[in-house]
């Protein structure tokens, strides 16, 4: 084997690998999009893999008749609330862990991680009882609080590593030149931590967006999207839903995420580009 064929083989292996990875992610997305809009006949026709006739009916029914659109709104509200509450609590904690030395720091860090390992189904019934007493049952705030509990350990650890990456001297310089500690944090550390915080916010958003168990248990009328879809699919409206509804539901769930990434992509890259320098 000469050098040239070796090189060619390497190239082929490389592109095969890239293609496989991309296909792994993209093919299911394409399949979902195709079948979500496939007509009933085409869907059940075994001779057709790719449907020819398309309809918006399934997606429309889900969105409007079966109230998935309301659920999307709910999901967004819950996710945003989760970000706000978990950041309001998590940023000060993350900052403290990053910048200060205090007794039992490691124990506290460990217990934060340990919290994350607690199986949530075990808590479901006590949580419902508690929520009924507190009048939080079937409210978006209630779901957001539960999601906050799940996201908080993650937010604390992520933000602490972000803040550890911002030099303390930059903040001290701001204090020397006339700012209070809080002012220095808001005008120096926070802007510098912003890209990292944005990433943490995105993860929190996705976690809340995808969370189905707690949302299903805690709500009835005010469901988030996954909970609403789960109850539709499980047959809350009489019998299990046909397959094309499932594809339509999957499409509705993934579309906002895809749109978000598509539009945020450019902004995120420039933002990371600046701070990585």
């Amino acid at each position: 084997m000469n050098e040239k064929t070796k090189f060619m083989l390497k190239q082929i292996a490389f592109y095969t690998f890239v293609f496989t990875v991309v296909a792994w992610i993209v093919v299911p997305l394409i399949v979902v999009a195709l079948y979500a809009f496939s007509s009933k006949l085409d869907y059940y026709d075994p001779s057709k893999i790719i449907p020819f006739h398309y309809t918006k009916q399934w997606v429309y029914t889900l969105l409007f008749t079966l109230r998935a659109l309301d659920a999307i709104k709910n999901s967004i509200i819950v996710a945003v609330l989760t970000i706000i509450i978990s950041f309001a609590l998590g940023i000060p904690a993350g900052y403290a862990i990053a910048k200060f030395i205090f007794p039992a720091k490691d124990t506290i860090k460990l217990s934060i991680v340990a919290l994350r390992m607690f199986p949530i189904p075990v808590m479901a019934i006590p949580l419902v009882v508690l929520y009924i007493r507190l009048n939080l049952i079937d409210t978006l705030l209630g779901v957001a609080l539960a999601h906050t509990a799940m996201a908080l350990p993650f937010v604390v650890l992520i933000t602490s590593s972000i803040f550890a990456g911002v030099s303390t001297e930059l903040e001290e310089a701001a204090m020397v030149f006339g700012l209070t500690r809080l002012g220095a944090f808001l005008r120096i550390t926070l802007p510098l931590a912003l890209p990292g915080l944005a990433a943490a916010a995105m993860f929190t958003f996705v976690m809340s967006w995808n969370e189905v168990f707690v949302a299903s248990v805690l709500t009835l009328q005010h469901r988030t999207l996954p909970a609403q879809i789960l109850s539709i699919m499980a047959g809350a409206s009489g019998g299990a839903a046909p397959d094309y509804y499932k594809f339509a539901a999957a499409f509705i769930m993934m579309l906002p995420a895809m749109l978000f990434i598509f539009f945020a992509r450019k902004y995120l890259i420039t933002m990371w580009g600046i701070t990585l320098k």
Binding site: E169, E172, A173, I188, L192, T275, K277
Partner: protein, 370 residues
């Protein structure tokens, strides 16, 4: 402008286990350039941080004139600081970095522009104002840090080893520039360094620190020629002062210092100072530049001399100076002679000592006797 006074200032870390600063008394006069000099870990940065308000003292007081600022937050002290890492804010352009302290103090935008222009000209960074710190070299970043520190016209200017990250040539240049700038602004300045050459060339006075304490304060020449302890004597000067144990003896020639392989008889006035130490061991010190080698260069201006014998062990030819390592007894003594002089290795030489520049220290307290 203010006078800064440190009163028995202390800072302990780790519940008193680390005594970073251990009782400093120091007055920095209005408009003075004071250098805090000491080896790594001796508490220079901690002292500076307490003066700036970033660190709260364990004990003691800090006065700006007759204002007790010990527990005042940094923003109420009207100070500026140049950090060792410069700490220019990476998310702001150079202009905004310099303007930031002024904006905090609510100067009108028009005046800010004027002041930034003034300071940018002073430090020759006008063409950098539109760049981000990531687009600057180390030396340029350092200028930005200095510009930011002086634009507010602070009462006290604090600098923590601002030149340590620069290459040798730039460092020498910036030394002169900072010194000139300070003289022009007449701002009370406390400058931290562990580089003794920097301290000697820049300071109006030098405070030599060791293990959280100030050992000696004085003008550079005084600290150099009259060190009060072995530590200060050896810390300042390069190559460092030769140090060896000698015994004080009284003979018919008067008081004599008897070392291993040599003997120096002292003039009467110096000898008298050692009367209490007769038959005791003391530490004798002599700087390399206060000796010469007979036959190579003569100490014509030196009135009182002594001679000891040695053997050339090694020669460092630096071009401007020649440093001869001579073996005397089992010790190596370094002699610094100006210019380039040829010296044969292994040759026996007579070393001439300038007796008006010798130092003698107490062996146990390490304090200077002569």
């Amino acid at each position: 402008m203010v006078e800064v006074r440190l009163e028995n200032l202390k800072k302990y870390f780790d519940k008193g286990r680390v005594k970073a600063v251990d009782g400093i008394n120091l007055t920095i006069k209005d408009g003075e350039f004071l250098v805090l000099l000491g080896p790594s870990g001796c508490g220079k940065t901690t002292t500076l941080r307490m003066i700036s308000g970033l660190e709260v003292p364990t004990a003691g007081k800090i006065w700006f004139e007759d204002r007790d600022v010990t527990y005042l937050p940094p923003k109420d002290r009207n100070i500026s600081m140049v950090f060792q890492s410069y700490a220019v804010w990476p998310h702001m352009k150079v202009y905004d970095n310099i303007a930031f302290p002024l904006r905090i103090k609510k100067y009108p935008e028009e005046e800010i522009r004027k002041k930034v222009k003034w300071v940018a000209e002073l430090l020759q960074i006008e063409e950098l104002l539109d760049r981000y710190p990531a687009q600057l070299s180390g030396g340029q970043r350092q200028r930005v840090a200095v510009a930011r520190a002086i634009v507010v016209e602070p009462d006290v200017l604090l600098m923590d080893e601002p030149l340590s990250n620069l290459d040798a040539k730039l460092r020498v240049m910036m030394r002169a520039e900072i010194k000139k700038l300070q003289a022009q602004l007449k701002v009370t300045t406390i400058y931290v360094t562990h580089d003794q050459v920097e301290a000697m060339t820049m300071g109006d006075r030098i405070a030599v620190m060791r293990q959280g304490k100030v050992l000696q304060v004085g003008p550079p020449v005084e600290v150099y020629s009259k060190p009060n302890s072995i530590f200060v004597a050896t810390f300042i000067g390069a190559p460092e002062m030769n140090i060896m144990d000698v015994t004080v003896k009284e003979t018919e020639k008067g008081i004599v210092l008897e070392g291993e392989g040599f003997e120096i008889s002292l003039p009467q006035d110096l000898g008298e100072l050692l009367r209490d130490y007769i038959n005791k061991t003391v530490v004798f010190g002599i700087r390399p530049e206060h000796m010469t080698v007979e036959g190579i260069s003569e100490f014509l201006h030196v009135k009182r001399k002594a001679k000891i014998k040695g053997v050339v062990d090694f020669v460092e030819a630096l071009g401007t100076d020649t440093i001869i390592h001579a073996r005397v007894g089992s010790k190596i003594i370094k002699v610094k002679i100006p210019g380039h002089v040829p010296v044969e290795l292994k040759k026996e030489i007579s070393i001439i000592i300038d007796l008006d520049n010798i130092h003698v220290f107490d062996k146990s307290t390490e304090k200077a006797i002569i």
